[in-house]
C-alpha cells in the first residue's frame, strides 16, 4: 500500500467499519496482546463452509476451494486483538446455535439453502448492528474533535465491540479475493499490465482488474 491508497482508504472507511481495513491501516488499535486459541480441523471445516456460503462456487471457484477457512484462522491468530479473537471464537458457537434454532440442527448438517437462509438473516442483523456502532463512533469522533480544540490529550474512545459475523464476512471476502483462485478466477488477474490506459470502455459483467497485491 502506498500513501495515496491509504489516504483514500481511510476516507472511505469513515462511517463504515472495515475490520480488514483496520488490520491494514490502524495504528491506534488496542494494545492488548494476542493469545492464540488453537483452531481445530473441525473449526477450519466449519469456516470453509461459512465462507463458501458467503462466496459459493459458481462458474468460478468458491471460498472453500480458495482455502479461505484456514486463512481466516491465520488472520485471527496473528492479526486480531485478544478482544476480537474472543468475539470470533464465541461467534462460531453463536452461529451454530442460531442454525439449531432456525433449522433444528447445526451448521455442518444444514443444506446449502438452509445455510444461506441463516446467513442472510444474520447478515441483516449484523448490518443493523454495524450502523448503530458507526453512529456511536461518529458521535465519539465529534466529541473527540471538540475535545481536541481545547487540548491535545487523547480522548479515550468508547465504542461497541465488533460483530462476529462482520469478522467472518470480511475475512471471507478478503481471503477469497487475495487468494490465488479468487484473484485468477474471480477477478481479471494482470500481474504485469505493461501499460496504463486511462480510459477504456467497460461492459457490465466484465471482471475488475487485479494486480499482484
Amino acid at each position: 500500500m502506498n500513501r495515496r491508497e491509504l489516504l483514500k482508504m481511510i476516507a472511505a472507511a469513515t462511517g463504515g467499519a472495515m475490520i480488514g481495513g483496520e488490520l491494514l491501516l490502524s495504528g491506534c488499535k488496542s494494545e492488548t496482546k494476542s493469545a492464540p486459541v488453537a483452531f481445530t480441523a473441525e473449526n477450519i471445516a466449519f469456516l470453509d463452509e461459512v465462507a463458501e456460503t458467503i462466496l459459493p462456487q459458481t462458474n468460478t471457484a468458491g471460498a472453500k476451494a480458495a482455502g479461505v477457512g484456514r486463512f481466516m484462522t491465520v488472520m485471527v491468530n496473528d492479526c486480531y486483538t485478544k478482544d476480537d479473537q474472543e468475539i470470533f471464537h464465541k461467534g462460531l458457537t453463536t452461529l451454530d446455535d442460531a442454525c439449531n434454532k432456525m433449522h433444528g440442527h447445526g451448521f455442518m448438517k444444514a443444506t446449502p439453502e438452509q445455510r444461506k437462509a441463516l446467513l442472510v438473516s444474520v447478515d441483516k442483523e449484523t448490518n443493523d448492528y454495524i450502523k448503530k456502532k458507526a453512529d456511536l463512533e461518529n458521535q465519539q469522533k465529534e466529541k473527540q474533535k471538540q475535545g481536541q480544540e481545547k487540548s491535545t490529550d487523547d480522548f479515550k474512545k468508547q465504542t461497541m465491540p465488533n460483530h462476529y459475523f462482520q469478522q467472518l464476512k470480511q475475512l471471507a471476502i478478503f481471503g477469497y479475493f487475495t487468494s490465488e483462485k479468487g484473484r485468477t478466477e474471480g477477478l481479471r488477474y494482470t500481474p504485469v499490465p505493461g501499460k496504463f490506459q486511462g480510459v477504456i470502455d467497460y461492459k457490465k459483467g466484465e471482471k475488475a482488474f487485479a494486480g499482484l497485491t
Binding site: 489516504l7 494494545e31 459459493p56 501499460k195 496504463f196 486511462g198 480510459v199 482488474f209 499482484l212 497485491t213
Partner: protein, 561 residues
C-alpha cells in the same frame, strides 16, 4: 592507511547520497560511500517484488507481533507485510520523543529511495522568496534561477514524467510523457478549471516512474504499482536503479555498508575536515577514513547529529553550532486530511493497468495578489479517482453468488484528494542529542521536540474545506471531509536542522551547501532546507546535491578547499 584514503567521502546512500556519489565519481573523484545498514542488491534482493498477494501469510496486513515490534512504524502506512525489511527496525534505532515525532527510516543501501512516493516537483520563487517576504526565519540564499539548470539535470537523469502546465508556482521541467488521467479525473479537472476560472488546476502527478526508456534504463514502468517493494524492471528512480550503476560505471566508487559515521575528523589548524570516524555496525570496530571533501547525505537528522558530534572540543554543540541554529527549524509536511466522495455515472468507462501515480492540485492559496488567509503559505493535494474494488461494502447484497459476482466487478467511481501542507520553520522545533540515552553503538539518541503550531492548524481547516468545496464544485456526490490528525514526521519529509543562509551567524550552510565553519564539508539532504514549501522535496535534494558537487569539485581544483 593508504587504502583508507579517498578524494571524497559520501555519508549515506539514499537519494542525496546516490546523487553525490554519481556526480563526484563522474567528475573523476575517487569516492567512498558509507552506508550504515546492510546492502540491498538491485533486483536480486527485492524479495517481494514479484510476490502475489496469496504468498503473504497475512496477505500484506499487519500482525499484532509487528505492531508490538514496531511502535513507531505502526503509526502510519509503512507497517505492513509487504516491504517490512526495507524499514529500519524500531528497537535497534531508538530515539526520544519530548513530543510525538514519527520517524520512519530506511537503513540500507538506497535508503528510502527504494520506498519513496516518487512525486517530483520543483520549488519556485514563491518558495525561495517566502521567508524574506513573510519575515519568517531567514531568507534562502538562492533563487529559482540558481537551481533551475540543476532541476533540468536531475529530471533528465532520474526520468520524471509529467505535463507542462505553465504554472508560476509549480515550474515545468524536462519531463517524460505524462501518464493518463482516467475519465473521472479528466472530468473533475475540467470542471475545477471551469468553476475556478483557471485559478485552480488539477494536473497529472509528476512522478519518477519511466513512461519511456531513457539511457541506462532499459525498461519503462510496467504499471504494477508496487514500486515500494523494489522494481525488478528498474521502472522508477532509486539509488539502485539509477545513481549507483552510474557511479559504479566510472570505476571510482567504493561502497562500504554497516558503516555508521560517528563524527567528522576536524583539523583545527587547517579548519578543514580530514575524513570521518566510523564504527562498524557488526563488529563495533572503530575505523577512520580520510578524504579531501565530505558530503553528508545521511538523511536530515542523522546528518545533523554527525555535525553535533563533531569537533565538540571547539564547539560544545558541534560543528555548525556557532550559528545557534544547528538542530533547529525542524520541518515536515502535514497531511492525513482531505475529502472523498462518489462520482455518479461513467459506468461504461474503466482503465487498465495500475498507475503508480495520481493527480496533483498545485497550491492555490496565498498566491501573489490573492486574498490573505489566516495562515501563511499553502498546500497542494494528491489524489485519484478509481472504481471501487472487491473491498467495498455492498449493503444491498447480502451473501451468496450475487455478492461474489458483484464484488468481482468494478464498483462505482470514487474520487479522493489529500492535502500536503507547508510547515513553517520554527526555531524552537528542534532536535538535540540525549545526555544519557544511547543506542547499541553507544551513540547518543536523538531527542525530538517538535510540534505543529497555529499556522499549520489554521491551514488544516482550509485544506479540508477547500477539498470538500472543489469536489462538490466538480459534481462529486456524498463528499465527506476528513482530518485524521497528524504527527510531525508522518510526512516522511524531514527537513531543516542545518539550514542554508546568507550569514554564518544565522545559518549552518552557505548557498553552496558548504558548512560555514568547515569549507570542505557539504550537507545536501533535507537538513539544508530553509523553508519547506508544500511540494514533495526529493527532487530538490537531487538538484541541490548535483549543484553542490559541481561547486565542490571546482573549488577542489582551484585549491580553495
Amino acid at each position: 592507511m593508504a587504502n583508507n584514503t579517498y578524494d571524497a567521502i559520501v555519508v549515506g546512500s539514499g537519494i542525496s547520497g546516490g546523487w553525490a556519489a554519481k556526480e563526484l565519481t563522474e567528475k573523476g573523484l575517487k569516492v567512498l560511500m558509507l552506508e550504515r545498514g546492510h546492502h540491498i542488491e538491485h533486483i536480486k534482493d527485492y524479495a517481494d517484488s514479484n510476490k502475489p498477494a496469496w504468498e503473504y501469510p497475512h496477505r500484506g496486513g499487519r500482525t499484532q507481533k509487528m505492531i508490538d515490534d514496531y511502535p513507531v512504524l505502526k503509526r502510519d502506512y509503512p507497517l505492513n507485510e509487504r516491504n517490512l525489511s526495507f524499514w529500519a527496525v524500531d528497537k535497534d534505532s531508538p530515539y526520544v520523543e519530548k513530543k510525538p515525532f514519527g520517524w520512519f527510516r530506511g537503513y540500507h543501501t538506497g535508503g528510502r529511495s527504494l520506498m519513496w512516493g516518487r512525486q517530483s516537483y520543483r520549488l519556485s520563487d514563491l518558495d525561495f522568496e517566502a521567508n524574506a517576504k513573510d519575515g519568517i526565519a531567514i531568507d534562502w540564499p538562492i533563487r529559482y534561477k540558481d537551481i533551475a539548470p540543476w532541476y533540468d539535470h536531475a529530471e533528465t537523469f532520474a526520468g520524471i514524467s509529467g505535463s507542462k502546465e505553465g504554472l508560476p508556482q509549480l515550474p515545468d521541467g524536462k519531463f517524460l510523457p505524462p501518464m493518463d488521467m482516467n475519465i473521472v479525473e479528466q472530468t473533475v479537472a475540467a470542471r475545477i478549471k471551469d468553476h475556478y476560472k483557471n485559478k485552480r488546476t488539477m494536473i497529472i502527478g509528476r512522478t519518477a516512474n519511466l513512461t519511456q526508456t531513457i539511457p541506462g534504463r532499459p525498461s519503462p514502468c510496467q504499471y504494477r504499482n508496487i514500486c515500494s517493494n523494489g522494481c525488478p524492471f528498474g521502472g522508477y528512480f532509486s539509488t539502485q536503479s539509477s545513481t549507483l550503476p552510474a557511479a559504479n560505471a566510472t570505476g571510482n566508487l567504493t561502497l562500504r555498508t554497516f558503516s555508521i559515521v560517528t563524527d567528522i575528523i576536524y583539523d583545527k589548524d587547517t579548519k578543514k575536515a580530514k575524513g570521518v570516524r566510523v564504527v562498524d555496525a557488526r563488529t563495533n570496530e572503530a575505523l577512520e577514513f580520510n578524504s579531501k571533501i565530505v558530503f553528508l547525505c545521511a538523511s536530515t537528522f542523522p546528518s545533523t547529529a554527525i555535525l553535533m558530534r563533531t569537533a565538540t572540543d571547539i564547539w560544545p554543540d558541534g560543528l555548525g553550532s556557532s550559528s545557534g541554529e544547528l538542530g533547529h527549524n525542524v520541518m515536515d509536511h502535514h497531511l492525513k486530511l482531505g475529502a472523498v466522495g462518489d462520482m455518479e455515472g461513467f459506468e461504461d468507462k474503466y482503465y487498465s493497468g495500475f498507475r503508480p501515480n495520481g493527480i496533483y492540485i498545485p497550491r492555490f492559496r496565498n498566491l501573489p495578489g490573492d486574498e490573505k488567509r489566516n495562515y501563511l503559505r499553502g498546500f497542494g493535494y494528491q489524489g485519484s479517482a478509481s472504481r471501487e474494488s472487491w473491498s467495498r461494502q455492498v449493503a444491498e447484497l447480502s451473501i451468496g453468488a450475487d455478492l461474489k459476482e458483484a464484488l468481482g466487478q468494478p464498483g462505482k467511481w470514487t474520487m479522493g484528494i489529500g492535502g500536503f501542507g507547508e510547515m513553517l520553520p520554527y526555531h524552537d522545533n528542534m532536535i538535540s542529542l540525549s545526555k544519557d540515552k544511547k543506542d547499541k553503538w553507544n551513540m547518543p539518541q536523538i531527542v525530538f521536540d517538535v510540534e505543529f503550531k497555529e499556522n499549520e492548524k489554521n491551514m488544516r481547516k482550509d485544506i479540508v474545506a477547500d477539498a470538500v468545496e472543489m469536489l462538490e464544485a466538480a459534481g462529486v456526490k456524498n463528499v465527506k471531509g476528513h482530518d485524521e490528525g497528524c504527527e510531525p514526521g508522518w510526512g516522511i519529509h524531514e527537513m531543516g536542522t542545518a539550514r542554508m543562509g546568507r550569514d554564518p551567524k544565522t545559518s549552518v550552510l552557505n548557498s553552496n551547501n558548504q558548512v560555514w565553519d568547515c569549507k570542505n564539508v557539504f550537507v545536501t539532504d533535507g537538513s539544508f532546507m530553509t523553508s519547506a514549501s508544500c511540494v514533495n522535496p526529493s527532487l530538490t535534494y537531487m538538484a541541490m546535491t548535483a549543484r553542490a558537487a559541481d561547486f565542490a569539485v571546482k573549488e577542489l581544483k582551484k585549491g580553495n578547499i
